[in-house]
C-alpha cells in the first residue's frame, strides 16, 4: 500500500444536525459529515473522539443505530468543559470527529442465545446500538431483556423509546430507580434487584452490562448467582483516553488498552483485575 496512511490522530469535520436534552444533565446529538455525504459504519459499543473547536476532545460512545450509519448519534452527560461546550453547539455547527474506535458488543456472537442487557444510568447509551441491532435481527435470538436502573425517574433516558420497547411482545423491559417521588409506580431499588426474577435462561444467555464500575461488579455477582457463565458476561469499561489509538497509554487496565482491546471486555478476561483497587 503506497497511499498516504490514514492518520488516526487528526479529526475530520462533522456537523451537528440536531441536539436535544434527554434529562437535566444529559443530551443527545445527531451528527452528519461536513466533508460531503459520508457514512461512518460502526459496531454497537464503539466510541468516537469528539472535538469542540478551541475547547478540547472527549471520548463518547455511539448511541445511534448501527444499521443506519449515515447519521451518527451520541448521548452524553455534561460533566466537564468539553461536554458542556458540546451541549451548547447548535444545528449546522461544526465539530471534529475521530473514530470509530474499539471493540463492541458481541451482538452477532450472541445469536441463538437469550440476551440480557443491564444498564446503569448513562450506561444505557452505549447499549442502545446493541438493542437496535438485536431488534433488527430479532428472530436470531431467544428472549431479549433490558434491565435499566437510574437515580430518579427524572433521569430516565430515551423515555419514549423505552415506552415503545416496553409495549413490544418480543422484548422485556424493566426499569428501576434508586429514589422515587409519589407519582412513580415502577420499581424502586438498584438495578441488580431486577436480575433474580428477569426472564432468561441463565445457561443460554449472553449478558451485556454497562454502568458505573461498582454497579457492574454487583451485576456480575447477581448474574453469576443465576448461573450465567462468566464467559458469557460482557462489560464496557471506562478509563482516561487521549489518543484512542493505543499510543498514549492512558487507558491501560492491566494488560489491556481500553481504547483498542475494549471498551467491551468479556468478564472472565478482566475478572482478576476487577477485584483490585486502583488498577
Amino acid at each position: 500500500m503506497s497511499a498516504t496512511p490514514i492518520n488516526p490522530l487528526v479529526p475530520e469535520p462533522w456537523k451537528v444536525q440536531r441536539v436535544h436534552r434527554d434529562t437535566a444533565d444529559t443530551f443527545t446529538m445527531e451528527l452528519e459529515s461536513a466533508g460531503g455525504k459520508r457514512e461512518l459504519p460502526f459496531a454497537a459499543g464503539q466510541f468516537n473522539m469528539l472535538y469542540v473547536y478551541g475547547v478540547g476532545e472527549v471520548p463518547i460512545s455511539i448511541s445511534g443505530n448501527p444499521t443506519k450509519p449515515s447519521s451518527i448519534v451520541h448521548t452524553t452527560r455534561e460533566v466537564g468543559p468539553v461536554t458542556s461546550a458540546l451541549r451548547k453547539l447548535k444545528p449546522s455547527d461544526h465539530l471534529g470527529l475521530r473514530g470509530p474506535f474499539g471493540v463492541g458488543w458481541p451482538v452477532v456472537e450472541a445469536r441463538g442465545a437469550d440476551v440480557v442487557i443491564v444498564a446503569g444510568g448513562i450506561g444505557l447509551a452505549p447499549l442502545r446500538p446493541a438493542l437496535y441491532q438485536l431488534l433488527a435481527a430479532r428472530n436470531y435470538y431467544g428472549k431479549v431483556v433490558l434491565l435499566y436502573g437510574t437515580r430518579t425517574p427524572a433521569d430516565i433516558l430515551f423515555r419514549k423509546e423505552l415506552q415503545n420497547w416496553h409495549s413490544r411482545f418480543d422484548l422485556e423491559v424493566h426499569v428501576t430507580v434508586d429514589r422515587a417521588m409519589g407519582n412513580w409506580n415502577g420499581n424502586v431499588g438498584v438495578v441488580t434487584t431486577l436480575i433474580p426474577r428477569a426472564p432468561f435462561d441463565p445457561h443460554s444467555t449472553v449478558a451485556m452490562v454497562c454502568g458505573p464500575e461498582v454497579m457492574m461488579r454487583f451485576t456480575v455477582q447477581e448474574l453469576e448467582k443465576r448461573g450465567v457463565g462468566l464467559e458469557n458476561i460482557y462489560l464496557s469499561m471506562e478509563r482516561n483516553m487521549k489518543c484512542a489509538a493505543g499510543f498514549c497509554g492512558h487507558c491501560q487496565f492491566g494488560p489491556a488498552f481500553i481504547c483498542r482491546d475494549g471498551p467491551v471486555f468479556r468478564y472472565d478476561h478482566v475478572q482478576p483485575l476487577m477485584a483490585v483497587r486502583e488498577v
Binding site: P8, Y53, G54, D93, A245, G246, R260, P272, L273, V276
Partner: protein
C-alpha cells in the same frame, strides 16, 4: 552464525584519527548528525559536528540517585554508559504539534502537521537503546493503528551503534538480554578498542545503507587480532554489570502480586516525580494539549510526554483512578516488566539503568523486583500479618 571469515570481510578498522571521516560521509549523504556531548555536567544527546564534540576522556559514575562525570585516564571517545537522554527525544519527541485548525465561515479547517522529517544519523546508540527503539516500533507501528509521524522519523534515522566498552553502575542489559553488543537493528556498529599503542574502532555494517557508507570509507579490513580485541571489550563489559534482574516468570510474578505490601513500602519513598518515565527509553505515554490564540482564529493540538505518575494521567470524571503513590508505582513497574509482555510480546525494560540513576531517592527497579520475588519464597513471615493488618 556467521563464520570468522564472513565477519572478517564485514568488519573494518577505523582508526581514532579517521573518526571524522565517518562524520563526513554521513554529512555528505544529507544526514543531520546527533550524538553524545557533555553539557550541564551530564552526557546528553545533541547536535555534533565532528568527533571533537564527543565526550572524549569522560566517564560517568552511576548508582541509585547518583550521576557524576569524571575524567578517565585515557582518551576514550565513548567511555561512558548512558546519560539522562535517550533517542526517544528524536524519534518520539517530548513535544510535537499534531495539527492546526483555523476558523472559517460555518466551521473550521484542520491541517495535519506536515510530515517531513530530517534525515538524522544517531552516533553511539547502545545495544539497549536499539532494543528500546525496537520496542517503541512495536508500540507505534505494530498495532492496528500506525503513528505516521513516528514512522517517518524512524525511516529517516541512520543508527550508528556502539558496542559498550564500559558498564555503568546501574546497567543490567545482560539480565534483559539486550546487550552489551548490538546484534542487529543498526546501520553501522562501532567497537572502541584502546591498546597501549593503538586507539581504533572496529566498524561493521548492519544494513545496506550502512554497507554503502562503509564501502565508501575504503578502510582496512579487520584481522583476527582486532576481532578478538573487540570481542574482549564487550565480554569485559558484560562481566561488569552494575545490577542484575532475575526475569524468570516475571510477568506472572507481578500478576500474582498486585496486593503485595512491598508496594506500600516503595510508595513511602517514591516522590511520584515522574523522572523514571522521562528518562526511560521505552516509556511512550503522552497527553495532548489543545490551545487557541486569544482571538479564537487559530487552534492547535500538541502532544507531549506524559507520565503514569501524575494524578491527571488516570483522571476520569469524579477523580483519578490511581490516587495513591502505591498504585502509580505499581502501575509503572507492573507495566514495564509484566503487562508490557502481554501488550507487545516483549519486556518494556532494556536494562539501561536510567530509572535507577535518575530517581531522586534512588528507587531501584531491580531491588523492588527482588523484594517481591523474595516475599514469595522467604519463610512465611510478614506477608500474612500484613494482609491481616490492613
Amino acid at each position: 552464525m556467521p563464520t570468522g571469515d564472513a565477519q572478517q570481510s564485514n568488519s573494518s578498522i577505523l582508526d581514532r584519527s579517521q573518526l571524522d571521516l565517518l562524520f563526513g560521509a554521513l554529512a555528505e549523504r544529507g544526514y543531520h548528525i546527533v550524538g553524545p556531548r557533555v553539557r550541564d555536567g551530564a552526557i546528553v544527546y545533541d547536535d555534533v559536528a565532528s568527533s571533537a564534540d564527543l565526550p572524549v576522556g569522560w566517564k560517568d559514575e552511576q548508582d541509585g540517585g547518583k550521576y557524576r562525570l569524571v575524567r578517565r585516564n585515557d582518551e576514550a571517545v565513548f567511555g561512558y554508559a548512558v546519560g539522562p537522554h535517550s533517542w526517544k527525544r528524536y524519534l518520539h519527541p517530548p513535544l510535537v504539534r499534531l495539527w492546526q485548525a483555523t476558523r472559517k465561515p460555518g466551521g473550521f479547517e484542520v491541517t495535519p502537521e506536515p510530515i517531513n522529517p530530517q534525515k538524522t544519523a544517531f552516533i553511539g546508540v547502545r545495544s539497549c537503546e536499539i532494543h528500546a527503539i525496537q520496542i517503541q516500533d512495536k508500540v507505534f507501528l505494530g498495532g492496528p493503528h500506525v503513528d505516521v509521524a513516528y514512522k517517518a522519523r524512524r525511516e529517516n534515522a541512520f543508527l550508528v551503534a556502539l558496542n559498550c566498552g564500559q558498564a555503568g553502575g546501574t546497567c543490567f542489559c545482560v539480565s534483559m538480554k539486550t546487550g552489551p553488543k548490538a546484534q542487529s537493528g543498526f546501520d553501522l556498529a562501532l567497537t572502541e578498542v584502546i591498546e597501549k599503542e593503538r586507539h581504533y574502532f572496529l566498524l561493521e555494517a548492519g544494513s545496506d545503507a550502512g554497507a554503502e557508507v562503509l564501502s565508501a570509507l575504503t578502510l582496512e579490513p579487520a584481522g583476527p587480532e582486532e576481532l578478538a580485541a573487540a570481542e574482549r571489550v564487550v565480554k569485559n563489559t558484560a562481566a561488569h554489570m552494575g545490577r542484575a534482574l532475575d526475569t524468570d516468570g516475571i510477568k506472572d510474578l507481578l500478576y500474582r502480586n498486585y496486593e503485595n505490601p512491598r508496594w506500600d513500602q516503595v510508595a513511602n519513598r517514591c516522590l511520584t516525580c515522574a523522572n523514571c518515565t522521562m528518562v526511560c527509553p521505552t516509556c511512550f505515554c503522552t497527553t495532548v494539549e489543545d490551545v487557541t490564540d486569544l482571538g479564537g482564529e487559530h487552534a492547535e493540538r500538541r502532544q507531549k510526554w506524559d507520565s503514569c505518575f501524575t494524578l491527571d494521567f488516570s483522571y476520569i470524571h469524579g477523580g483519578s483512578v490511581r490516587p495513591s503513590a502505591r498504585s502509580r508505582y505499581r502501575q509503572w513497574m507492573t507495566h514495564k516488566l509484566g503487562t508490557w509482555i502481554d501488550q507487545f510480546g516483549t519486556s518494556g525494560c532494556v536494562g539501561c539503568g536510567r530509572c535507577i540513576t535518575w530517581c531522586p531517592v534512588g528507587i531501584d527497579i531491580t531491588e523492588e523486583t527482588r523484594a517481591i520475588r523474595e516475599s514469595e519464597t522467604a519463610p512465611k513471615r510478614s506477608a500474612r500479618e500484613d494482609a491481616n493488618g490492613d
